[in-house]
């Protein structure tokens, strides 16, 4: 069993059905993720990067609206065929998610502490003092006065604080893999850096793996070990970050990196994607 990686995805495909119309939104997705590794998934809107991440734990509409193919093995256990009740333990347990908009991922009518406590009670029912665990979880993501914040409602926190609370909730159940779907896109650049520094520290301390979905190559370069580029539902390029940032094998990756404005290149005309590389828009 030692050869089995933490997560092994093979030929994963996602198809949406609407009446007679079928749309393949991801296909042929295969990769492995080792413990403690950070994988960045890059692509534009509509490239299938989020859907692929949600498919790992079947967080998608049930059949027949959505059909999954291929295989997702977490420590040797096939997730795609797992019964709902066992999969519910994996979601938020072994594989936890944080999303782009912390404001809309938190329930506005419950306190932060209640919501984190709910996750702890579900995934670690043996916990005696849930409240103490909640405060500890909030302190771990560097929230000042965690006991006070636990009693606050989401609207009382800033975007950065909400995202910290989301991370605290995701980590409260000690996941092996954290899927972070555009975790800093909605945040200011300085807060963005704080959140990424926080994720880097937690990964180091806990040996947790992270699947980081982003369109920001700067974050990829500074934070990830390996990267895969998705285009029209397929992985068109993958490899160690240093290699992919230096030389790209697929024309799409090359073009996408060229589009990004860089400091110190004022008023140069920005490169754009050629027609055949555009994600149908």
């Amino acid at each position: 069993m030692s050869a089995e990686p933490l997560l092994k995805v093979q030929d994963l495909s996602v198809t949406f059905r609407n009446g007679d119309r079928e749309t393949v939104v991801a296909q042929g997705v295969s990769y492995e993720l080792a413990a403690g590794e950070v994988l960045a998934v890059v692509g534009e809107s509509g490239s299938g990067k989020s859907v692929t991440a949600l498919a790992l734990t079947r967080l998608l509409p049930p059949a027949p609206g959505c059909a999954l193919g291929g295989s997702v093995r977490l420590q040797g256990v096939e997730l795609l065929g797992l019964p709902e009740d066992r999969l519910a333990k994996v979601r938020g347990g072994a594989i936890a998610y944080i999303f782009q908009e912390p404001g809309s991922s938190l329930n506005p009518v419950y306190t932060i502490g209640f919501q984190i406590g709910e996750a702890i009670a579900l995934h670690r029912p043996e916990t005696k003092d849930v409240r103490a665990e909640v405060v500890r979880a909030l302190a771990e993501v560097h929230i000042n006065e965690p006991a006070r914040v636990a009693d606050q409602y989401p609207h009382e926190l800033s975007g950065g604080m909400q995202q910290r609370a989301m991370i605290a909730m995701a980590l409260a159940c000690d996941p092996k893999i954290l899927v972070a779907d555009e975790p800093t896109t909605a945040l200011d650049v300085t807060i963005q850096k704080e959140i990424m520094d926080l994720l880097a520290r937690l990964r180091r301390e806990r040996g947790m793996s992270i699947i980081l979905i982003t369109h920001n190559f700067g974050i990829v370069a500074n934070f990830a070990d390996k990267v895969q580029v998705m285009w029209k539902g397929r992985i068109v390029e993958s490899g160690p970050v240093a290699r992919v940032m230096r030389e790209q094998t697929h024309p799409y990756t090359k073009a996408l990196i060229a589009c990004i404005p860089r400091l110190g290149q004022r008023r140069r005309r920005l490169t754009t994607l050629s027609e055949e590389l555009k994600v149908s828009r």
Binding site: S45, D188, V189, I260, P261, R262, L263, T272
Partner: protein, 263 residues
């Protein structure tokens, strides 16, 4: 700097604050606090800052979408800050705005023709229906969209296309100054590059002046001739892109710069 189109002096926008107790006097919330700057004709002035820094409020105050507490706004020498809404109408033709969210800034029930026609009906009431339609088609072409799209509705377009329509709507009345409020923040990098290029082409073609509001320093540096850095309602630093990037003076500017990812 030569030939200022827009001159802002001591601009403040304060909102009533909330008192902790009813007998306390509430301190006003100073969204914009005594700022002054100049936008030269035909140039792009970039305005950077984080959310809550007052950069959007500054842009909105210029077109009377936010109330002025103090200060003056001069457009080609004329004070437009104190004008009533009715008296301001001729300036609405000269100063247009492009918004951040291409999803919420277009009426979902109107087709593109009526979205683009509306400013024409207001500012060019004498224009015939046929002329208006021809002008709308021309506008779409100038933002590189096919004229056949006039009969479509906003939901049929992608984010980048909607932003182009927003730009076409701003261009409809042949403005001189466009306030671009985070025009590319919501777009993918490839689409962002297209829209930035388009804005620069249009500037050249029509001699436009831009006040370009954004939080991404790399984009602002790319388009601007002069950069203003805002924090907590004040301009903390300003200068040419070379000055701001090469030799930032303020700690806040350094923080912003350090946060720009490099690779």
């Amino acid at each position: 700097m030569s030939d200022p189109l827009l001159e802002i002096k001591g601009l403040s926008v304060h909102y009533p604050g909330r008192a902790a107790w009813f007998f306390q006097k509430a301190a006003p919330k100073k969204a914009v606090d005594d700022i002054s700057f100049v936008v030269p004709k035909g140039k792009t002035v970039g305005l950077v800052g984080e959310s809550g820094s007052g950069k959007t409020t500054t842009g909105r105050a210029i077109v009377k979408l936010a109330p002025l507490t103090a200060g003056s706004i001069r457009y080609q020498g004329q004070d437009i800050g104190a004008l009533s809404n009715a008296a301001f109408l001729p300036w609405r033709k000269k100063i247009q705005m492009i918004f951040q969210d291409p999803y919420n800034s277009l009426n979902p029930r109107a087709d593109i023709l009526s979205i683009l026609s509306e400013p024409l009906e207001i500012h060019f009431p004498a224009m015939s229906r046929a002329d208006r339609e021809a002008r709308c088609a021309e506008l779409l072409r100038s933002v590189q969209l096919p004229a056949e799209h006039l009969r479509r509705h906003p939901h049929e377009f992608s984010g980048g296309q909607r932003q182009r329509i927003g730009i076409a709507r701003a261009l409809a009345v042949q403005p001189e100054l466009i306030i671009c409020d985070e025009p590319v923040s919501a777009l993918d990098v490839s689409v962002q590059a297209e829209v930035v290029n388009l804005l620069q082409d249009l500037q050249e073609q029509f001699g436009l002046t831009y006040l370009f509001i954004a939080h991404d320093l790399a984009v602002v540096e790319h388009v601007s001739d002069h950069i203003l850095v805002m924090s907590r309602g004040r301009i903390v630093e300003q200068g040419t892109p070379a000055q701001i990037l090469g030799d930032p003076q303020e700690a806040y500017t350094k923080t912003l710069l350090a946060a720009v990812p490099r690779f």
